[in-house]
């Protein structure tokens, strides 16, 4: 079920009413309802893959219980590996089998040996990368004794399948989300209303920004050979806003929906395009994934402790794996590596934590220095997104070579100029609102507080009408494929 669908618009109020009006007295019943709702939400796409989620839940629940009982280190380690192998095994098969097979065949053919093996027509289960990492966080934390394993299977199943963030995150840590399934939830009006505001803004980002930008980015990327460098730059910028609107919009709807049910999810995007350097960008972009890799991969590898080569190695490992997590394609790996290259100079000069506050905090406008930093970071990000969006490596390189050719200095021209102007105006509105709200957890969190109700409602109506009237052609969420 998509958040931007009529199905979800019907589904959400029904679950909300049942949750607060029918089963509100009993936490167990609320959890059962959440499991049923979450399985319905996921099964709407393809019920066959519910068995995967169920199996993953069962394995990690059982291993958690066993880890509690077992004190012997070797057995505990073995249990952890079983969980890792099962979870990553599913992920590896569904997401990476064909990639490895194709590269294997290609590598052998390079040396003159032909291997007869066929790619499989595998459907990638939606959200597998997200819930796999979430369940892994549980087992690893239980193994490290940071978390008490649960004996409540229903609560654990609700944690794994929690529908607002099941298919595209934020990837929640067991230590943060799981305990919330054991606490009596109270309906908090102010929290729920702000959840609705966050949903509204998330839908604006997805439907108005991402879906319009998608049409333009698709046109330019799919026909990149026909366009000038300046047009390709526009295409890359449109994709930059498409992916931001798409994914941060999804996260806003997910977090807002969770708040309606009394749950608190971690912030996943903190206005990343206002970052002053790449290190800040990575603290603000897809925070739940970055911190997951930091805690479960980067730090165990030694993090930034140790010599220069260890730092370089660990940075490349984390960024490349993060790229590969996004998809089985060399373009994602190069995207990750490129970001490592962007990040390393800051790390090696100990400048990776220069900007830990919000840009121009307490001010309306940034300083020239901040503006320059933001502009340069944005530019670097735009170039990196070209690899992310390109069909393959040769497409990415040909795109870049045209982009940085003489035609960069021509006036951009392509079919869809009218839509481009409209989308640019809408992006401008997005940037203004996000800039004004950059100190909040979401852009319109504080926008309402200063004004009286008619003005606030007027703003909500404007956003809702913009969603309806300026929304682009419906597109699936990009991160569903990851």
């Amino acid at each position: 079920m998509l958040f931007n669908s009529l199905d979800f618009a019907v589904f959400l109020p029904i679950v909300f009413l049942l949750y607060w009006a029918v089963v509100d007295k009993d936490i167990k019943k609320q959890n059962i309802l959440l499991v049923i709702a979450s399985y319905t939400f996921y099964g709407w796409w393809d019920w066959r893959f519910l068995s995967l989620i169920f199996f993953s839940t069962l394995v990690d629940y059982t291993i958690g219980v066993q880890l509690k009982k077992e004190e012997r280190h070797s057995i505990r380690r073995r249990l952890l590996w079983i969980s890792i192998l099962v979870n990553l095994g599913f992920l590896g098969f569904f997401k990476y089998y064909n990639f490895f097979l194709d590269n294997f065949i290609e590598a052998f053919s390079f040396f003159g040996t032909t291997i007869n093996a066929r790619s499989l027509a595998i459907i990638l289960p939606v959200g597998i990368s997200f819930y796999t990492f979430q369940t892994l966080s549980y087992t690893i934390d239980v193994y490290k004794k940071k978390l008490e394993p649960t004996r409540d299977f229903i609560a654990f199943a609700a944690f794994v399948s929690f529908f607002p963030q099941l298919v595209a995150g934020p990837i929640e840590r067991a230590t943060h989300l799981l305990p919330q399934f054991f606490i009596k939830r109270k309906f908090d009006y102010a929290n729920a209303v702000d959840g609705l505001r966050q949903i509204l803004w998330g839908l604006f980002k997805k439907i108005v920004i991402a879906d319009n930008a998608a049409k333009l980015a698709n046109e330019i990327f799919n026909n990149s050979a026909d366009y000038s460098g300046s047009t390709l730059l526009l295409g890359a910028i449109f994709f930059t806003f498409q992916i931001y609107g798409d994914f941060s919009g999804y996260s806003d709807v997910a977090i807002g929906t969770s708040r309606l049910f009394g749950f608190d999810l971690k912030q996943n995007f903190a206005f990343p395009y206002f970052s002053r350097d790449m290190a800040e960008f990575w603290r603000r972009w897809h925070i739940s994934l970055s911190t997951w890799f930091r805690d479960y991969l980067y730090i165990p590898l030694g993090g930034s402790r140790g010599g220069t080569w260890i730092k370089i190695r660990n940075t490349f490992i984390i960024f490349i794996i993060s790229g590969f997590w996004h998809g089985a394609n060399w373009t994602f790996i190069v995207w990750g590596a490129l970001n490592a290259i962007y990040f390393l100079p800051l790390l090696l000069r100990n400048k990776n934590r220069t900007h830990t506050n919000t840009v121009a905090q307490g001010k309306y406008l940034p300083s020239i220095r901040e503006l320059t930093g933001m502009g340069m970071t944005f530019g670097l990000t735009v170039v990196a997104w070209i690899f992310f969006r390109a069909e393959n490596m040769s497409h990415a390189f040909s795109y870049l070579s045209t982009l940085f050719s003489k035609s960069f200095f021509t006036i951009p021209y392509f079919a869809g100029g009218k839509l481009a102007v409209k989308t640019m105006l809408l992006i401008f509105v997005l940037l203004i609102v996000e800039w004004l709200g950059r100190e909040g957890k979401h852009a319109i969190e504080h926008l309402h507080l200063k004004w009286n109700r008619p003005v606030r409602w007027g703003i909500y109506y404007l956003i809702a009408l913009a969603i309806f009237w300026f929304g682009g052609e419906k597109q699936a969420f990009i991160y569903f494929q990851f």
């Binding site: 607060w20 309906f187 009006y189 209303v193 909500y460 109506y461 009408l465």
Partner: protein, 286 residues
């Protein structure tokens, strides 16, 4: 809990009203041409779109001619047209065979929302899911009445987008929805009669290759009877034939005229319309 439900309901009611207001404004802005007086309004599908040269027809009739013809126009679009034209308006309506036989899923059905038209569809065996799909297609009003149309340029030979097999498939057997579509079509004509409109009917020609397929089809008697049913709605009804000169290629493809054909037809149609005051069905033949 009650407060959030109350406020959410209030918000959506307000949003609905605001949206209706904006919808009405945009709709009026897009389709204000319907309110023009002393004009001729044309309805039809792609055959009409490609087959009538609006500029030529307008010049010869000495009246403004506006067309709502569009590719894939369906019976719902016709009902909407009949809703929108004003009383006593002069209209040209295509008796389009493809409107009757085209698979429902390919019908355009994007000419605005009307409870009355949707109800007519429902009464004529359109399912609830089909009705919902029409509603979904019409959530935003579009501009579909125009005074200018770009015709297909002349070429020595036809260049079909759709292969002949596409039409063979249509004409193989009588589709289950044929009578429903014809019934809705007739209802639309009755709407025009009730509005006292001056109606001119027109049937566009097929390319000989498609005519051969049609002539062997069990559908042909049904579409012929349909014309008789239309005639039966009027106290006085005539049929006339317009023969186009075909020493040069007048077709764009199997079912559409090209610019040359459209020019010829528009000139001849205007001449005939100026002379006649009756309700006439012009059957165009190559």
């Amino acid at each position: 809990m009650k407060k959030i439900i109350k406020n959410t309901v209030l918000f959506f009611v307000g949003l609905g009203l605001l949206n209706a207001l904006v919808y009405g404004g945009v709709y009026f802005y897009n389709n204000h041409l319907f309110f023009k007086s002393d004009a001729v309004f044309v309805w039809g599908d792609s055959q009409t779109y490609e087959g009538i040269d609006l500029a030529k027809l307008s010049a010869n009739l000495e009246k403004k001619v506006y067309s709502t013809a569009t590719y894939g126009a369906g019976v719902y679009d016709f009902l909407r047209f009949t809703d929108q034209v004003s009383e006593n308006a002069e209209v040209i309506v295509s008796v389009a065979k493809l409107v009757q036989v085209r698979r429902k899923k390919y019908d355009f059905h994007r000419t605005g929302l009307s409870a009355k038209s949707l109800s007519t569809m429902y009464q004529n065996n359109y399912s609830l899911s089909e009705i919902i799909s029409i509603i979904k297609k019409n959530l935003k009003p579009d501009q579909y009445i125009r005074s200018k149309i770009k015709l297909s340029p002349y070429q020595d030979n036809i260049e079909p987008d759709l292969p002949l097999s596409h039409f063979q498939d249509y004409y193989q057997e009588i589709p289950s929805f044929l009578e429903d579509k014809q019934s809705i079509y007739l209802q639309g004509i009755k709407n025009l009669i009730a509005k006292d409109c001056k109606i001119t009917f027109i049937e566009f020609p097929y390319h000989p290759a498609l005519t051969r397929i049609e002539s062997q089809s069990p559908i042909l008697p049904k579409t012929e009877t349909f014309k008789e049913n239309i005639a039966a709605l009027f106290p006085a009804f005539q049929t006339d034939t317009i023969f186009l000169q075909n020493d040069k290629n007048i077709f764009k493809d199997y079912s559409h005229l090209n610019m040359l054909g459209a020019n010829q037809l528009s000139t001849m149609l205007a001449e005939k319309m100026k002379k006649n005051n009756m309700t006439i069905l012009y059957i165009v033949r190559p």
